[in-house]
Structure formats: structure tokens, C-alpha cells
Amino acid sequence: MQTVSVEQSVAMIPDGATLMIGGFMAVGTPERVIDEIVRQKKRDLTLIANDTAVPGRGVGKIIGAKLARKIIVSHIGLNPETQRQMMAGELEVELTPQGTLVECIRAGGYGLGGILTPTGLGTTVEDRKQKVEVNGKSYLLEAALRANFALVQAFLADYLGNLSYALTARNFNPVMAMAGDTVIVSADNIVPVGVISPDHVVTPAPIVDYLISNS
């Protein structure tokens, strides 16, 4: 694990990268990393996130700055700008059931090729997807998801990079931390090793590549 400034962390991200961004309606989203992505104008991004929050918050900032080419999300209903860009053909939007989305990310991080889920059968979600029968039940085959970078927000990070999360800010963060080729973490608090007891570490230190230092 290496400690970097927020500027350095974002400088590593090339235009056209695929990013997983933690958070749920911007709760548990690494806002300062997003602010820096917007400042450095990283373009043609593919975003994998639960939602696009609201304009001016979380992932909504990247949408507002028109820096995304494609998004894979479960919900865009509270961000009219996302809907406008989608309708205008400026942004490709792949809507995925939330449970399928998180489980495909989990599969990506856990070395699996995909998952079999009953969710989406008989709906528009099953278009062009393979159906698989197991023990007499039908499932959709949904491919695993990975990203070039996972952008994670933790509550506590210790000096080695062990992470724990707070309340509903956990959401997609620990799952995405497993599925990014490079894992960049922003933490509410950086604490000495030992403050997070082994039982309370949710994301173990070796998973984290970069921890953003306090400025």
C-alpha cells in the first residue's frame, strides 16, 4: 500500500478507464476523488456504480461534467441530467437490477466468471442473455464485472490499509474493493495500526493499493 495525494491518485487514471465507484445515493462515495476527476477532466469514462445520485453530488458530478461515456447502474431516477443525456444519446446507460449488479461485481472480485440469478427472468433484463437451467429451475447467466480502478470510501483506514466502514456508507465499497485492478481508498479517518481490531477489519490491507493522505 502506498500513500498518495488525491491529485496523484487521479493522475493515474487514464481517459477511457472503467471505474467502480462506491456509494448509494452519494452516501459512502469518495467525493474528493470525484471532485478531482472533474477537475482533471478525465474523459470517456465507463462508470460502474449503484446510481448516479442527484446533480452535483457523488457520481452526479461526473455526469454533470459530461465525462462519462457509459454507465452500468441500477437507478438513475433521481438524476434528471442522467436521463436527459440518455434520451439525447450522449450517454450509454445499462440498467441492471441492484442485486445482480452487486453480485456480478462480487463475482468479478472473487474470481468467478459470472452468476446465475432468477432476477430479471421474463423482463427486459433478459434480452440477449443466456438462460441456464439448474435442478429444474431457470436462471439468467450474468457475466462478472471488473474495473481498472475501484474508488472506495472507508470510515477508518489504518496505516497499513486495513479498512472498516460506517453504517449505510458501507454498501458497494467492500465489494468493489475486491473487483478493481487498482484500488484507491479515501477514508474519513486514518488511524494507527491496531485501532481497527482484526475482527472489525472488513477490507484487509493487501487489497488496498493506494490510500489518499490527509491534505
Binding site: 441500477s74 437490477p97 445482480t100 452487486v102 462480487r106 427472468l121 449505510t168 454498501n171 472488513v202
Partner: protein, 216 residues
């Protein structure tokens, strides 16, 4: 009584001790207000919380304690938090005893459409498809009609949310249960006749004998 209150109070009667319940946004959220005093149920927010409580007092909100709509909530004693994979494992894995969701259309076989209106509203399904597919029991809370047009139809014209039929729909006019592909009129709201319900419903309703009135 306001239509939403009729619906929420009637659905609250379906709760029992120890249930794990997921409430959708809108009328379903109101159900939490009418939990019978003598029972304890666990409410799940799919963003990663069991033990969701009422909104906090002004000035007491925490930025990382929110419901699935991103609104501040409280966590009751005995609450637990977890990541989204576990949250949907709870839902899809059949650990959620009951989900109460809003609806755009329900048809006579119990299929629900509640996530999009082609060409008009494409918000994304969020957790709706997983909830309808995975919860042990699905109850839809919605008004019987929208702008005078029935929402309980023969066959959903809007894209369905799941191939899994719901168990029950509760409106301000009636309780309708779905069994073996048929819609049964189970109860009417106070002051509403079975004939009025049938007239306000496009789906074919099975009405047997004297239909009981909701005990609110």
C-alpha cells in the same frame, strides 16, 4: 381516512412478530407508522441496514445513516449494517419475509409492473426486481386507479418487474389476493361495495359470497 392511510393501516395488519420486512418508497413507507404496538418487526433498507427506524429529530441526522432513498433515518436497538451483496443475499435468498412495494399496474394473474413507462419514465429498477423475485411474500400498495384509469388490469401493458406473481394488492378500495393465477376480492374498504370495486377494476375478479369489510 385518506387513501394512503387506509392502504398502510390494512397492510400493517399483515405484519407479525419477528418478521424481516422491506418497505418500498411512497405509500409502502407509511406502513411502518402503523405497526401493531405489541409486536416487533425488523425493517430492512436495501442500502445495508436492518433495524431501520423513523427519521431522526431535526439536527440529529447522520450523513451515513440513510434509507434506500438517501433520506436520514435512525437505527433501532438491535440494528445491524452490512454491504450490498449481503443485503441482496437477504432479499434474493428468501430471508426477507415480506416486501411492500408500490405499483403502476397489477394484472389478474398477479404480475406486477412497477419500474418503467416506456418513452416516459426510465428510472431504473433499483432493487425492485430482486425484491419481487426473492421475497417470501410480496404485497403491492397502490391507489386503485390513476387519473380515473384502473391500475388492476387483465394483462400488464407496462413491462413487468418479475415472472413471480405477487400475493396481494391493497388499494383504498379493496384487498385483492392472487391464487393459482386468479384474482380474488378478499375485502372491501369501509363504505365501498364489491360492485364498485368490480366496476373500477379491469381484471376479472372472483367474488364469492358476502365480501368482508377491512377492519381498520
Amino acid at each position: 381516512m385518506e387513501p394512503q392511510v387506509v392502504i398502510a393501516r390494512r397492510i400493517a395488519q399483515e405484519l407479525s412478530e419477528g418478521m424481516l420486512v422491506n418497505l418500498g418508497i411512497g405509500i409502502p413507507t407509511l406502513v411502518a407508522k402503523y405497526v401493531p404496538k405489541d409486536i416487533h418487526v425488523f425493517f430492512q433498507s436495501e442500502n445495508g441496514l436492518i433495524g431501520t427506524g423513523a427519521p431522526p429529530e431535526e439536527g440529529m441526522m447522520h450523513p451515513t445513516l440513510t434509507d434506500a432513498g438517501g433520506r436520514p433515518v435512525t437505527a433501532l436497538p438491535g440494528a445491524s449494517t452490512f454491504d450490498s451483496a449481503m443485503s441482496f443475499g437477504l432479499i434474493r435468498g428468501g430471508h426477507v419475509d415480506l416486501t411492500v412495494l408500490g405499483g403502476l399496474q397489477v394484472d389478474q394473474e398477479g404480475y406486477l409492473a412497477n419500474w418503467m413507462i416506456p418513452g416516459k419514465m426510465v428510472p431504473g429498477m433499483g432493487g425492485a426486481m430482486d425484491l419481487v423475485t426473492g421475497a417470501k411474500r410480496v404485497i403491492v400498495a397502490m391507489q386503485h386507479t390513476a387519473k380515473g384509469v384502473t391500475k388492476i388490469v387483465r394483462k400488464c401493458r407496462l413491462p413487468v418487474t418479475s415472472l413471480r406473481p405477487i400475493e396481494m394488492v391493497v388499494t383504498e378500495m379493496a384487498v385483492i389476493a392472487f391464487r393459482n393465477g386468479r384474482a380474488m376480492l378478499v375485502e372491501t374498504a369501509p363504505g365501498v361495495s364489491a360492485a364498485q370495486v368490480v366496476a373500477a377494476t379491469e381484471a376479472e375478479l372472483t367474488v364469492s359470497g358476502q365480501v368482508p369489510v377491512m377492519a381498520l
